[in-house]
């Protein structure tokens, strides 16, 4: 008896897309996964990332010319290869969609390889995409062109990773990967479970509610990240949180409105990671007579800060100590002093999934006393570790409702490097625009890194 027809790649892509919901961030490997954005109904409800660095792969098939790159869809942006890998490594994707050559019953897979490349086994982007994604959607033909199973008891080729949670969508069925093994949950129209199992190399159990594969897709709308006020955006911050707050020294790039909101909210026992711990209030930077600049000091004066991690936590003038210095002299706060470049690099490591790095900065000085050192190519390096935070309060110039951000001038400073390093990133901007209204080439912080967007009120004053 001839086998029923297998589903084509378009329907396979539709079935794979059913695994994704609005608000998800999905990494796409090369091959079949690149078909998925094209089958998803209108709108950037799922943010698709290609391994070439497009954030927001569009509904339309991208046009490629020889030298130029392809462009994202509305609300998209661009990342370099290293930024894309950092995003994947730091676990910002809720799903990775990959086309493996083989998958085994225990979740092992090998990616971009075939009989045409014996012994070479190049994984492309699969290693970092699979290792850190929330879950994996595999898309592949159930068998090789000569009928051998692609789902096997053990991979016959070296694996590129192991998946503990995922789903396999093939041209004849859908299988769930769990610790316990593979379960067949759906079969293609006209297929019986026995026929699918006979073409599967690994042992498979059949779900009690076995269904026929479905291909319909709901409309997926983009998530609106706009919050009504600063206070609403920080209201859930618990006592004892670690919070990154941008600002270089002066008012540029400082989230003044969010700092006031955090003071109003009143969370205490906070560890604050920032460049200065608040010196704008001392230096003034053009503050009108009779007023004080709003900076990190307002949180210290309000007794909310337990510890600061900063590169410049003191006033430049001993006669005019900062609020933090006074609190430190009173024994109310702890301080960890970090050189400015090391602070930036530790933040970058936190947002890039890097655990630690060797830097020459500070080697042989008091700042690195007691830290592990290593000689590399005849030079001394110091081991420094990543910084992470529960919250990050930053300041942009414009954002869209999806959280894509552009900065203005040097107000960019620590904002861009802090945004990926925190669990919940809140941004205060001068103007909020709709998706697609920001130039994708100009977006510095993609919305993937931003959870909450707040408009700074037009009548808000950075002085009080």
């Amino acid at each position: 008896m001839p086998s029923p027809e297998r589903i084509d790649n378009q329907r396979l892509a539709r079935r794979a897309a059913r695994e994704l919901a609005s608000g998800e961030v999905a990494l796409l490997g090369p091959g079949m996964p690149m078909l998925v954005p094209g089958v998803v109904p209108s709108g950037p409800g799922v943010t698709f990332l290609s391994d070439s660095g497009i954030v927001g792969v569009g509904h339309q098939a991208p046009q490629t010319t020889e030298a130029q790159g392809t462009s994202p869809g509305p609300g998209g942006s661009l990342l370099s290869t290293v930024e894309l890998a950092a995003l994947a490594r730091a676990g910002y994707s809720t799903a990775a969609v990959l086309q493996p050559a083989q998958v085994s019953a225990d979740g092992g897979f090998c990616h971009w390889t075939s009989e045409a490349t014996p012994g070479l086994l190049p994984p492309g982007p699969a290693v970092e995409m699979a290792a850190n994604a929330g879950r994996i959607v595999f898309m592949l033909p159930h068998t090789t062109t000569d009928g051998q199973p692609n789902i096997v008891p053990q991979c016959t080729l070296p694996i590129d990773g192991t998946v503990t949670r995922g789903v396999i969508v093939t041209d004849i069925g859908v299988l769930i990967i769990e610790q316990a093994g593979l379960t067949l949950t759906e079969v293609a129209p006209g297929w019986r479970s026995d026929d699918v199992i006979s073409l599967t190399g690994a042992s498979v159990s059949v779900a009690t509610g076995l269904k026929e594969m479905e291909f319909s897709l709901d409309d997926m709308r983009p998530v609106n990240k706009v919050f009504s006020s600063g206070l609403e955006a920080v209201r859930d911050m618990p006592d004892g949180s670690t919070v990154m707050i941008d600002g270089f020294a002066g008012p540029g790039g400082m989230p003044h409105y969010l700092m006031v909101a955090l003071r109003d909210h009143g969370a205490r026992g906070l560890t604050m990671i920032s460049n200065t711990a608040g010196i704008a209030r001392i230096i003034g930077f053009g503050t009108p007579p009779g007023y004080q600049a709003i900076d990190h000091s307002i949180l210290i004066e309000n007794g909310q800060i337990r510890k600061a991690v900063a590169s410049y936590p003191v006033s430049p003038s001993p006669a005019r100590p900062s609020a933090f210095e006074l609190a430190w002299q009173r024994g109310e706060v702890e301080i960890e002093v970090v050189p400015q470049g090391t602070l930036a690099e530790r933040l970058r490591a936190g947002g890039a999934g890097v655990a630690a790095f060797y830097t020459p900065t500070g080697a042989g000085t008091l700042l690195t006393e007691g830290k592990e050192t290593r000689m590399i190519d005849g030079r001394e390096y110091v081991l420094e570790t990543a910084l992470h935070a529960d919250y990050c309060l930053i300041r942009g110039y414009k954002a869209d409702t999806m959280g894509n951000v552009v900065y203005k001038g040097t107000s960019r400073n620590f904002n861009a490097v802090m945004a990926p390093a925190a669990q919940i990133t809140v941004i205060e901007v001068d103007e909020i625009v709709g998706p697609g209204e920001l130039d994708p080439e100009a977006i510095v912080t993609p919305g993937v890194y931003v959870d909450r967007v707040v408009q700074r009120p037009s009548d808000f004053s950075p002085y009080e």
Binding site: P30, S50, D51, S52, G53, I54, T64, E66, A67, Q68, G69, T70, S71, P72, L78, L79, S80, T81, V82, E83, A85, A86, R89, W112, A116, T117, L120, L121, P122, P123, G124, P125, A126, V127, E128, M129, A131, N132, P158, I159, D160, G161, A352, G353, V354, A355, A356, F357, Y358, T359, R374, D377, Y381, T385, V406, Y407, K408, D439, E441, A442
Partner: protein
């Protein structure tokens, strides 16, 4: 372009910009699946007489007869070793595969994110990084593994190169670069990781001709600029 600026990084031709490329040099080549490939610069290397280059790049990709990529560089006998996450396209294997199979080309496979991070470390002056990529796979073999906060990480050293061949959309005379779409790909980390970065661009502006907010690679990282041919 006018003659008003005394200082310029613009060279007359790709060949002139690569005049000091030497045998055995390590060469970073941008480009990802045919996007952002510095073709004019590649042609200059193909037409040169250097050999035994170590090339670090995404890999070869099928392309039309009117364009060039890594495969043509390998075919011309310029490359001794390739460090790549991709190698070549299984459906269009070309010279990379045949020279590799005959032992005339060494290939070292490195996962894409690992290679990118090693380049970034080189460009940022780091000695190396601990990253989780490849734990539990063959990419862990022979590497230093260390545990941080209950998770295993692999030490990866920085990569430095002699030259980088970049492909950008526009440059100014100081070498500030903008890209277009996914042309950006490997360019930014590669620009920083090489001693001499050479950018091939469609359009060259006077200083100030590019919006500073749109510059992705500052001219500090770019030594030479050429007009694409």
């Amino acid at each position: 372009m006018t003659e008003s600026t005394a200082y310029t990084k613009v060279f007359d031709s790709p060949a002139a910009a690569l005049d000091d490329l030497f045998d055995g040099a390590t060469l970073l080549i941008s480009g990802h699946r045919g996007m952002g490939v510095p073709e004019s610069l590649l042609r200059a290397v193909i037409e040169s007489s250097v050999h035994d280059l170590t090339c670090i790049c995404h890999g070869a990709w099928p392309h039309g007869d009117d364009s060039v990529d890594l495969d043509d560089l390998v075919k011309a006998g310029r490359v001794g070793k390739l460090i790549t996450p991709h190698g070549f396209d299984p459906d269009r294997p070309g010279a990379v595969r045949s020279l590799w199979e005959s032992g005339k080309l060494q290939i070292e496979i490195v996962p894409q994110g690992v290679l990118a991070e090693q380049l970034r470390a080189g460009g940022a002056g780091l000695g190396g990084v601990f990253i989780p990529d490849g734990i539990g796979t063959r990419f862990q073999d022979g590497q230093e593994v260390r545990r941080f906060n209950g998770r295993d990480y692999i030490f990866r050293g920085a990569i430095h190169a002699d030259f980088a061949l970049l492909r950008a959309d526009s440059a100014d005379l100081f070498g500030n670069l903008t890209y277009r779409g996914s042309q950006r790909n490997w360019n930014p980390p590669m620009a920083m990781a090489a001693r001499i970065s050479v950018a091939e661009v469609d359009e060259i502006f006077e200083p100030g001709g590019i919006d500073p907010e749109l510059v992705i690679t500052p001219g500090i990282f770019v030594k030479r600029v050429v007009q694409t041919l």
